[in-house]
Symmetry: D3
Subunit: 136 residues, 6 copies
């Protein structure tokens, strides 16, 4: 019997949308005010979900306290109160869209989970805009 | 790499549940107070999700500003502050249940999206009742 | 020692904004699409708050089960799934704005509460628009 | 045409995490404060989703009033304001984790639904921790 | 210039409503299923608000990190994952209603705040039931 | 008869906490990671409330569409997707704490409201931290 367990977390960060391959005028044209050179920011709400068999002894797919601590050390400690473009190496050459941030978070968490478990990352950039990524 | 991007929107409308093939007594029996001939109404909360590959240049599955504008012109401008039964042609002969409203919205949006993108519509009729439709 | 106890409830209704003293053109000019003659509707979220001394024996300002039942009989049974303009006598000559609906609800509940208790009504017409009325 | 209809419900209960096969020291070591012998409790938020074809006459996958009543009689009346470990037979020998509670709820509802309908249960133990189970 | 700053927190606990001056039959009659001798529980959501002048240098009424830590040590560490009736001395002879829990929390926090600051405690027992206490 | 009408809005911005009278070391000591020189950011949720008499003809304290447009031009167009420290003149010498941002917003809106109306501004910096300012 398989179930999906989910844990919500959050972090605050500054960013701007910017393609390094384009000049500022082209960035402004495509990304509008999201490309403001002085940055803007968000309260990112994150939902990490892990799918796998329910352990018949503990009744857990995975101890959510372990997942909470993993999100803390691998994601919140790294991204919270940071400028994504200026301070996070992955975004030196990668545009920090919600899609790409979700992929980066997925890649940070995946090595710490048993291979039999499936991983899904859902990231709210605002209460009205969000993205879901499951590694496929 | 594929991701799902989602955008929340909303509109307010009046409706009544009513099967044109049935008389008023049968409608009342099946739909109860939801079939009140004088109508009632809802704040419909809508989540539109689009799944597709992440563009390696922009980092977007789809520009959510484009999706926001599409929902505005194709759904909100058409349904907001309307009486669904009386003013929306699709519901002249179709019962405006949450299921059918979701299908109508899906059909309005589908032609405006690239064929490689998958579309899902989620519609909250109330904070406790909602429906999900993905065209299958 | 005084405290304020609050209970959330909800009802769905159709309405249109309409001043009976004005003609349709003037109503349309002032109220825009909210004055659509075919009606539109809302999920009204209601918060009823009662302030008074904490009973030293029970630890209650007021039994919230009693308040829940009072809201059910005096407000939900009366307004839910109704057309406010067409079916609720108070709105025959009163424009059913959120402000006026809150006043009508306050007047329906006030006689059923002990005079030493203060009453406040908060009404969400949409998740972004709401009104607060306390009888003053 | 298939859609998924969802209904939210809720119940309050006390529980403790406890594996009957382990002694108290081992339970304390694995489950920490969640294994407090005096119990703690939660407001469980429940989302029950049913997937199936949209009836061409009624426009329903399933009447949500019927689903609401089913959740009331099979889940809320049984679990609300109860001590899961002490009063619910299923948990006499089963650890009442969110995963296992979701499985128990799924098993209570499944026999009451037509076999062509798919059933999914989502259970929030807290606003930040939840589990999804669909019978597979 | 004065402002009110607010911080949300939460804890989970078991309780039962019970007046020690009454026998079990009278408790059952007044409190119904809330008086179940085996306890039930809640996710209590807590909002602590502090009102005072805005410091012209820091721009703070009070550093919310300090308030967060105070709530952690004085409230969450004390009440989280506990049985209020059995393990919290204040409720040995006091019925743990939402009103009384709010008063107990207010009394725990008040001595740690400067006397010029006003304190308000808001406690959600469920998403639909809550209480507000400000010491008056 | 008086009522309070409220309208929710939102904007995204980058900021850092920084007292110009202090050096970087002192700022870091007091504000911690909130003083990161590369900035971080938030989704600010804003609730603007206006209290006054209900107009006996329209049933409005104030047309919320007018209030919505006022918030758009005076607040959202000015602050959205901006760096508060670098781009908003008021914060050139004022620390952009939630308290001070609320005061700045209050000052921007106050001149546009009739003097008989009371104004309150509530600003959520995160879902767990918020501030309320009413001009006193």
């Amino acid at each position: 019997m398989k179930a999906k367990v989910s844990r919500k977390a959050h972090f605050n960060a500054a960013h701007r949308l910017f393609c390094p391959d384009w000049d500022q005028a082209r960035n402004q044209e495509v990304f509008g005010k999201c490309s403001n050179p002085n940055f803007h920011g968000h309260n990112y709400e994150l939902i990490v979900s892990v799918t796998g068999p329910i352990d018949p002894i503990t009744g857990f797919v995975m101890d959510l306290k372990v997942l909470k601590d993993l999100i803390q050390t691998e994601v919140e400690d790294v991204l919270d109160h940071k400028n994504l473009n200026a301070e996070i190496p992955e975004f030196a050459t990668l545009n920090p869209t919600a899609e790409n941030i979700a992929v980066v978070i997925w890649n940070k968490l995946r090595p710490h989970l048993q291979s039999a478990l499936e991983l899904e990352v859902q990231l709210y950039e605002t209460p009205r805009n969000y993205v879901t990524f499951n590694g496929l």
